[in-house]
Subunit: 126 residues, 2 copies
DNA sequence: AGCCCTATGCGACAATTGTCGCAATAGGTA
DNA sequence: TACCTATTGCGACAATTGTCGCATAGGGCT
């Protein structure tokens, strides 16, 4: 099967994704309220970023209740797996991707997700 | 003391740094021979990247034997420490930076360097 | 001294990212 | 229905990165 390579998100893009992994279908306004403070961004800026993320296939936009809401279109585990592999490979030059137990206390992952991640790191291995 | 924040190198920049950590004072030609194949870059491109890295303070250029040679001006451990902290913090949202034993089989580090890294990860912690 | 090859300094251009503002429109409310 | 406010679709511009090519200056060899 074809391995689609996820685009590597920039810092703000990752922040948006994290938010949308927690709560999906948020409006631009809601997203702004959450992430703009951290980056010191205006509403306009956030909207542009959202738009571009849609073009890149990171998000999906859908009208609901009169406003557009956004949802992540890449999975959390899949993307994290990719990022971890890239980091361990390209930056650290490790022979094997680290085991997911290393991330046990990550605020991003539940128990199940951790196992899923472990699996991804093993199989998609390389 | 002032903590100077190292610039985050791009992928090709990191590749150049890795090379120069192994062998310092290489000419643009030598660097090209090493890294260009991986990125499929021309000599010109590599030179531009080197020049820009100097401007950013990642490298230093010095004439030697009639040609310019480049050397890394950021330390390997310092930069890796920064990258690891950023990744564990911003991407993985771990409470504590991982211990360096995790990188024991990194092709980049000797025993001593590993200890040094451990130290950096502990102290500069946060 | 003259020539040739290589290195260097510079300039150029496209794509991506960071960062907004504006004019028009759609929804909700008086 | 008329108005007010929030949303949207666009367009714009600067900085960074990716990606070279060219014209000139330097060194070494004959």
């Amino acid at each position: 099967m074809v391995e689609k390579s996820l685009p590597q998100p920039t810092k703000p893009e990752l922040a948006v994704l994290k938010l949308l992994w927690r709560q999906k279908d948020l409006s631009a306004r809601q997203i702004t309220d959450e992430v703009a403070p951290q980056f010191d961004w205006s509403y306009s800026t956030v909207r542009t970023v959202l738009e571009r993320m849609c073009e890149k296939g990171l998000l999906e936009k859908r009208p609901a209740n009169g406003v557009n809401v956004y949802a992540a279109s890449v999975g959390k585990i899949a993307l994290l797996g990719d990022l971890i592999r890239d980091f361990s490979d390209r930056v650290l030059e490790l022979d094997a991707a680290p085991s997911a137990v290393m991330f046990a206390d990550s605020r991003l992952l539940t128990e199940e997700e951790l196992e899923e991640l472990e699996h991804v790191l093993r199989t998609e291995g390389r």
